[in-house]
Symmetry: C2
Subunit: 243 residues, 2 copies
DNA sequence: TTTAAATGTCTATTGATATAGACAACTATA
DNA sequence: TATAGTTGTCTATATCAATAGACATTTAAA
């Protein structure tokens, strides 16, 4: 842990400390006790006032990561980080496997629109051709994990929103629409700060980090069937690439 | 762009705005003029005072991304984002290709130590076995891109630090030590906030984002030869995975 | 039942962040 | 050479973030 906090950076000390503690928890640093060290210890460790540590812990409690109990200490409530393997056969829902008891995928909105340059490049179609656009949120055990915007060629997958709403799965929706199998062609990964909309949708602390993937899925002939930009809560997930 | 800024989040408005503008620049939003919009326009856009925008621009100028010229406007100095393909044949230096004129790899420090649990798992050796540890920084055209901590089995690659210092390349250093080829086995990607040490080493704005990769390279027989944890400046890079 | 150790609450003070307005200085152009 | 449009500087004020200290309240263990 250690590593001092920085002052006058535009990021409040309590937020920096909250980020550090969240990280330490998910790295298993406090597994022995199942508790965060006492406020006075943390204050000494980070070289700040106890009240500043309290602000940090209050933020983590707000996120549901810890629960402070007067007289006992601050208990760790949640420490998981979901792992997403990125392979040729990347699947969102089944990829989670036993890491969560329940995965839900919710369709927030959908529309038919004309492909812009970015989408057209991903789907290998001409700009202006009709595409289905879907905005989705995926949750693991009720906890939001990612927001995604996905585009499908309208000619082939006009029924996508309906099928997705019913099946809550891209894989199953594709199957209903006659595509029994598909593969991940390319994935592009970046990281940015969450904006307001994603902060709300993902129930994040403001200023949180998003891992962004831009992915293209194709059918077995290599024809693109889906282009998706997904925004993952960085402190809840990791990606693994097996080569 | 748009998307309002958030108040009372522990992240100062000027920092949020700086992050947005940096992102917009790298997305090419201001390519037509090569300039950031006037302060008054940005202030209106973000719904903040002009002075707040000025703080944001001052931070970006500090990073060398923009340069404000009295009477003219705020010129964009730099907007590149390096792309790192992650494949079975991932190479750092040659992977950059023509994206930068000059790549340099600097060895900050090295030591021989005993493998801890994490390193032992990566290198598939027993905890406690001797490993060479190297701390490195890699720069593209003089701009720091990543910090890395790398471990090698000491028995086989004792000469690694020397060879790396001379060749400034893992690939060439391996070659000098008799390993003509190697492949990327696994890569794990996460994102966190930069701590103080990395902020300094990577010349980052405090509160910046790091993309973290944990990677295992093996020889052609599948025996691990390197385990590395790299920390990339998230606003300077992206990863692509081709399947 | 004490006591130590932990979190919870309150008051006060200082420094950083943000707003507001006015005006100076510089640049490019009509 | 004006003038519009831009960045630079200054003062003042309000709010948030951080420190400091004192003491209350709760829990678990001696």
């Amino acid at each position: 842990m250690a590593g001092q906090v920085q002052r006058q950076t535009g990021v409040a000390l309590w937020r920096q400390i909250a980020d550090r503690i969240r990280q330490a928890i998910s790295a298993g640093a406090y597994d022995e006790t199942g508790m965060v060290p006492p406020e006075t210890v943390l204050a000494l460790q980070f070289g700040v006032n106890r009240h500043t540590v309290r602000s940090a812990i209050a933020a983590l409690a707000q996120e549901g990561i810890v629960r402070a109990v007067q007289g006992r200490g601050t208990l760790i409530e949640r420490k998981e980080r979901l792992n997403f393997p990125i392979t040729r056969r990347t699947r969102f829902t089944s990829g989670i496997g036993e890491q969560a008891r329940e995965m839900r995928a919710l369709l927030l909105s959908h529309s038919e629109e004309k492909a812009d340059a970015d989408v057209a490049r991903g789907l290998k179609i001409r700009p202006g051709e009709p595409v289905i656009r879907m905005e989705t949120v995926r949750k693991a055990d009720g906890r939001p994990v990612s927001c995604a915007t996905a585009w499908f060629p309208a000619a082939r997958f006009g029924g996508m929103p309906d099928a997705y709403k019913r099946t809550e799965s891209i894989t199953r929706a594709f199957a209903e629409l006659g595509l029994s199998d598909y593969v991940r062609s390319t994935t592009e990964i970046t990281a940015i700060h969450a904006d307001e909309a994603d902060t709300i949708a993902l129930e994040l602390a403001p200023g949180a980090i998003l891992l962004i993937t831009k992915a293209v899925n194709t059918d077995l002939e290599g024809v693109p069937v889906q282009y998706a930009i997904s925004r993952f809560a960085a402190d809840r997930v990791q990606f693994t690439i097996e080569n």
